[in-house]
Symmetry: C2
Subunit: 207 residues, 2 copies
DNA sequence: TACTAATTTCGACTGCAGTCAATTTTCACT
DNA sequence: AGTGAAAATTGACTGCAGTCGAAATTAGTA
């Protein structure tokens, strides 16, 4: 790596670290780019040559965190568990990280779920990494007969992911507390697997 | 109504209308509060006495639109149709309005699904209106034996709503086109009703 | 009507995100 | 080492969101 490249990497890292540390200490809104620049020992313009907007700084951090989460998931994964258990593990691990970084998580989800026209494509590769984790699990579920074979894997992931987003939203809006997340997720996943229709329309029992 | 009240109402309306017209003409980002104020014939400070932030102007507009949507839904609703059909009608009507106001819809969904800590409670009442529309439909579905009786109505709505958010997100991120929304929604809703598990784990047929 | 208190309106002001032209640093080649 | 082109860095500058205290308008009272 050339001297130039090395310097760039070092500076980029310094900027992200300064940003995270200041955001954590004073909050995102209360931290100015100029503060970050000074803390990182560079000029304001330099920050903008590495990150196009202030929000991109968050994204830099979150993508780094996601990397860690994905590694953690691979380690934790138990291929012998049921689909329900594996999905719960995956999404609860993810949720755990969100609780650790509530504000960052919120800003990140906003951007990745409803992105500005202009930065749509950035997120697509992050999604790919997700699919790489979920596909084999769900595929195995189909092979084991736990999941229908006539539902495409992409749709399978969509079902689980949509419930995850929904629950996170309910948590952010205060409709459910931290402790209620896991039971709610389990119940919703279970209902998703079983379906909302009665198995036998004429003989259902109220629970 | 006192003279003062009447004036306030008129001004508020003038401001919202000026905002919508300018946002539509030049986009949200390219419109300044000062422009809106001038167009509405008031001072900048006055705008801020009616709306706390620029985003609130969007919310004012969207809530007005939602009102219209809800009325439209009540008119359109056909209580004899299947749950699948009714849910499709409701969410496709909503989606139609989103397509008409792509940018507003995006900003609104961001705010309502992942709101800032400080304005969480504003959205809760809007949600109530939703439930008022969905609950009776789903309840009837339960009575008719189309839906399980052992799933709470709140959870029922959560399932459908979560898929809706997911699809909207897929549309905003360009993963699916406008024309693909309806078939995707129908397929996902159908899968949700049937469940992701095979009915009979040992005798499923690949489609 | 006249006077006072309460409410509303206003635009000058502050602070920050993001831009850009000028300057400095790095690199490739002699 | 010396030179010129390319890339990186910088902070002064622009434009706008949001604030705030002073001025104007309205309501209440006699």
């Amino acid at each position: 790596m050339s001297v130039r490249e090395a310097k760039k990497q070092r500076k980029k890292k310094a900027i992200v670290e300064a940003a995270i540390s200041l955001f954590s200490a004073q909050g995102y809104e209360n931290t100015s780019i100029e503060q970050i620049a000074r803390a990182a020992g560079v000029g304001k313009g330099t920050v903008y040559s590495y990150f196009q907007t202030k929000k991109d700084l968050i994204k830099g951090f979150c993508e780094y965190e996601l990397e860690k989460i994905h590694l953690e998931l691979v380690k934790r994964s138990n291929r012998e568990a049921t689909i329900l258990e594996q999905m719960l593990t995956i999404y609860m691990t993810e949720f755990h990280h969100v609780t650790q970084n509530r504000e960052f998580g919120r800003l990140y989800m906003r951007e990745s779920i409803f992105p500005k026209e202009s930065d749509v494509q950035d997120n697509l590769e992050t999604d790919d990494k997700y699919f790489q984790i979920l596909f084999p699990i769900l595929q195995k579920g189909q092979e084991r007969g736990e999941l229908r074979k006539d539902v495409e894997l992409l749709y399978m992931t969509a079902h689980f992911y949509s419930l995850y987003i929904m629950i996170i939203s309910a948590w952010y809006t205060g409709r459910i507390s931290t402790g209620e997340v896991e039971p709610a997720m389990e119940l919703l996943f279970r209902q998703l697997l079983e379906g909302l229709q009665p198995k036998n329309p004429n003989s259902q029992v109220s629970k």
